[in-house]
């Protein structure tokens, strides 16, 4: 196997003081850093997961009706963030700009599809005649 990079002149790094990183990759970090990250990620995730399950099963008398689902959503988003930071090593550094931009684009698309679909279908559902009335209309 050749150790040549795609173009020989480019692996010198003379031009790249801050080469981009691949997502989930921090080439120059030591193994200890990776283990620490994984430990932190596991710890935070366990706490957040336990909290989510507790919210779901405890049936506490909440002060506000939809508080339980909102709390669950917040905990889920927090845990996704923990995974992104500690397991996928996504940071705000300049070497990660492209990765974060791609992620933001993906989140936008997911948001448009999920929220758009729910909004459209809810309005449609609202405008539809209830099924039992529809049955009565048939001769």
């Amino acid at each position: 196997m050749s150790e040549l990079e795609y173009d020989p002149g480019l692996s010198t790094g003379a031009l790249d003081h801050h080469a981009d990183h691949a997502p989930g990759d921090e080439p120059e970090e030591s193994a200890g850093h990776w283990v620490l990250n994984a430990n932190l990620g596991l710890g935070f995730s366990l706490i957040l997961t336990a909290a989510a399950f507790w919210v779901a099963v405890s049936h506490v008398a909440w002060f506000w009706g939809p508080a339980a689902p909102v709390a669950l959503i917040v905990l889920a988003i927090a845990q996704m963030g923990v995974h992104l930071v500690f397991f996928l090593h996504v940071t705000t550094g300049p070497d990660n700009t492209n990765n974060v931009l791609a992620l933001a684009f993906g989140i936008l698309v997911v948001f448009l599809i999920v929220v758009g679909s729910i909004w459209i279908m809810n309005h449609l559902h609202h405008n539809m005649m209830p099924a039992d009335q529809l049955m009565q209309m048939q001769p």
Partner: protein
């Protein structure tokens, strides 16, 4: 043993599909026999079938797209003929056959003609314009192409074995559910589109990565040619929306194969969710097609006006604006579904807003021509025809974006005329401009100008004669997809429309003649320098056709319009830049994995359509084994020796040097 497949699947009793498919089989066998007799197989296998060169793959995509364009056009001719004769009569096409034809026409034109042609040009041009030697994932690129070809193959098999969908180019449930479409037609559609869609998705991933991560030194974002920007935007849209198509069609397949209830009208299924999801893919899809066409027009206007593109940055902004807003307009395809005034209004407004981005582009193209020295070449004619045609198509689109107006013409011939107006006027004209523009780069000689101009005028006039009557018929209340017509007053307009198709056929004949004449006269039309149009972007810095490694030394870009600066400096100083130091080049090795994958995909698709489960499982295992074998290879790249690099580049420099001398002798240099 063979699932639903039996001899009754072959249409012995229907002469039209039987004769067509027998003729097709005869042609294919003839071509294969010719290749065998001439002994071309080793060459084809080595240089084309297993090639991972983006230029070769691009050419193969364009070839596939052109063949399927003819196939889809044949469907269109049959439809227009049927509607012109079936007035107060039943015509020559029975309803079940007519329904298959309009479904096949839409499916083939979008998935297997327009997409391959667009992706083919993206493949051929983008790496050259970015100044690099290949795309980010060359082997994956080959897999993408062969998967697209596999989908096209399945659609065409449906002509001979079984039937095609009768549900339109988007199989709306509940009609497309197993209860109402029990045949294999919808299954052919589903698997053909799924397989081709996966290929397209991988192309999107490949090109996002290529444009963002593979640029030659100095090629900053705001120095990229416009076509690269539109490639990026279209690829981002592919990555964002093709998974929606995959998911939606997978849900429909689960309904059809296993009796689930995603989109049924019983047991809590919701057919309207299908419209919602499929158009969340379908609307961005038209921008996936038209954005690269916009890129082509930008290159053509700039080159043939002899000026930099007017408002380059506003063009970039408009492209990205369209890319984002394209994903927010999908409901305008089903205003009449009944989501109510709030939802309809929001999507009506977003649809009107997206026209602003296109408007910016139209003005920029006009201002690019202003003050320039315009050369009316064939690509320029297509581009001018585009502006005229597309603006009208766009305005009818804005009309349709108003929900109350849309209620009146929804699913009418007005709509049919509108989307042909933007897709033919925008995408097809753009593709013809691009094919004519980059043909000399791919093959080393230009296309015949006279026949090209004739083809353009026939196409432009033919288009308007065909579709103006359809606009009028739509306003008179004619709905789309009618197998026969009961209103005799519509006869004159339908027959004028058929006349227009005749003119379009003349245009298509001119295209074929142009190709043949150009090949015969190729020595006269030869492009010796690699810069036949006096171009401005980097692809014109290579010889025509470019060597497989594109650039002997990667270009160093110092400004916008990379090649233009290099060229002007050479003419000014009357010498080329000093000869660079050549080094060996690392290039990816060829690989048959694309063909293997497509083979197993085709077998799997076919056996799933006919429910031959054991064969589908066998194909899946075969595909996995193929992947493992591929993943186990040790040699990924080979080195082009420095002598070969130097020889190729010195030949290029000699041609350029000779051109400089000719210019000086002519006294052309001011």
């Amino acid at each position: 043993m063979f699932g639903k497949l039996s001899w009754s699947a072959i249409p012995f009793d229907q002469p039209i599909p039987l004769i067509t498919s027998l003729a097709l089989v005869a042609i294919i066998l003839g071509v294969l026999a010719l290749i065998t007799v001439k002994g071309w197989w080793p060459y084809l296998w080595r240089e084309w079938i297993t090639s991972v060169d983006h230029k070769r793959i691009g050419v193969m995509y364009c070839l596939l797209g052109s063949v399927m364009l003819v196939r889809g056009f044949a469907d269109a001719i049959m439809m227009r003929t049927q509607q012109a004769v079936a007035i107060g009569a039943m015509g020559y096409l029975p309803p079940e056959h007519y329904d298959q034809i309009f479904s096949a026409h839409g499916t083939i034109m979008i998935f297997f003609a327009a997409m391959p042609l667009v992706i083919g040009l993206m493949n051929f041009v983008t790496p050259l314009q970015l100044g690099v030697r290949d795309v980010a994932f060359p082997t994956l690129n080959s897999v993408s192409f062969w998967l697209t070809a596999s989908g096209a193959l399945l659609v065409n098999i449906s002509l001979f074995v079984g039937e095609f969908a009768r549900t339109g180019w988007l199989p709306y449930p509940p009609l497309s559910e197993a209860a109402y479409s029990p045949g294999v037609g919808v299954d052919y559609y589903l698997w053909a589109v799924q397989i081709a869609g996966i290929g397209t998705l991988m192309t999107g991933i490949n090109f996002v990565t290529t444009v963002l991560k593979m640029r030659c030194p100095g090629m900053t974002y705001l120095r990229m040619p416009m076509f690269c920007w539109t490639t990026l935007a279209a690829s981002l849209l592919i990555v964002a929306v093709f998974p929606i198509l995959t998911a939606t069609l997978a849900m429909l397949s689960l309904d059809r194969y296993f009796g689930w209830h995603y989109f049924t009208n019983t047991a809590g299924g919701n057919p309207m969710m299908f419209m919602n999801l499929i158009w969340a893919w379908g609307h961005p899809e038209v921008y996936i097609l038209v954005l690269p066409a916009f890129g082509i027009f930008s290159e053509v206007f700039s080159t043939f006006s002899g000026k930099p593109l007017f408002g380059y940055r506003s063009m970039v902004a408009a492209t990205l604006f369209i890319c984002i807003v394209a994903m927010m307009t999908w409901l305008h395809h089903f205003f009449t579904m009944g989501s109510g005034p709030a939802v309809n209004t929001a999507f009506g407004i977003s649809t009107s807003i997206i026209a602003v981005g296109t408007g910016v582009k139209i003005y920029n193209w006009i201002f690019t021509m202003y003050g320039g020295r315009v050369r009316f070449t064939v690509p320029m004619l297509w581009s001018l025809g585009f502006i005229f045609t597309f603006v009208i198509g766009g305005m009818t689109g804005v009309l349709l974006a108003v929900p109350p107006a849309d209620y009146l013409v929804h699913n009418s011939m007005f709509l049919v005329a509108h989307f042909h107006n933007v897709i033919v006027g925008g995408v097809v004209f753009g593709l013809f401009a691009g094919l004519d523009y980059w043909f000399p780069k791919a093959f080393g000689f230009r296309l015949h100008e006279g026949w090209g101009k004739a083809a353009f005028w026939f196409a432009l006039i033919g288009f308007w004669v065909t579709f103006t009557p359809l606009y009028m018929l739509g306003l008179e209340g004619m709905t789309r997809r009618l197998q026969h017509i009961d209103i005799p007053e519509w006869a004159p307009l339908l027959r004028i429309s058929l006349l227009g198709v005749g003119i379009l056929i003349l245009g298509a004949i001119c295209q074929v003649v142009m190709l043949v004449v150009s090949i015969l006269q190729r020595d006269k039309l030869r492009d010796l320098t690699g810069d036949p149009w006096d171009g401005r972007s980097l692809e014109w810095a290579t010889p025509s056709p470019p060597p497989f490694f594109n650039y002997a030394v990667m270009p160093n870009v110092e400004g916008e319009e990379a090649y233009w600066g290099i060229k002007l400096r050479a003419i000014e100083t009357q010498q080329l830049s000093p000869e660079p130091t050549y080094e060996p080049i690392e290039m990816p090795v060829s690989s048959p994995v694309g063909l293997y994958t497509a083979f197993f995909a085709s077998v799997m698709g076919f056996s799933l359509i006919w429910q031959i489960w054991w064969l589908a499982g066998l194909a899946l295992v075969g595909a996995y084994v193929g992947f493992v074998v591929f993943a186990w290879r040790d040699v990924h790249e080979f080195h082009v020796p420095v002598e070969e690099v130097a020889r190729a580049d010195r030949a290029r420099r000699a041609a350029r040097g000779a051109q400089l001398e000719r210019l000086a002798q002519q006294g052309a240099i001011p």
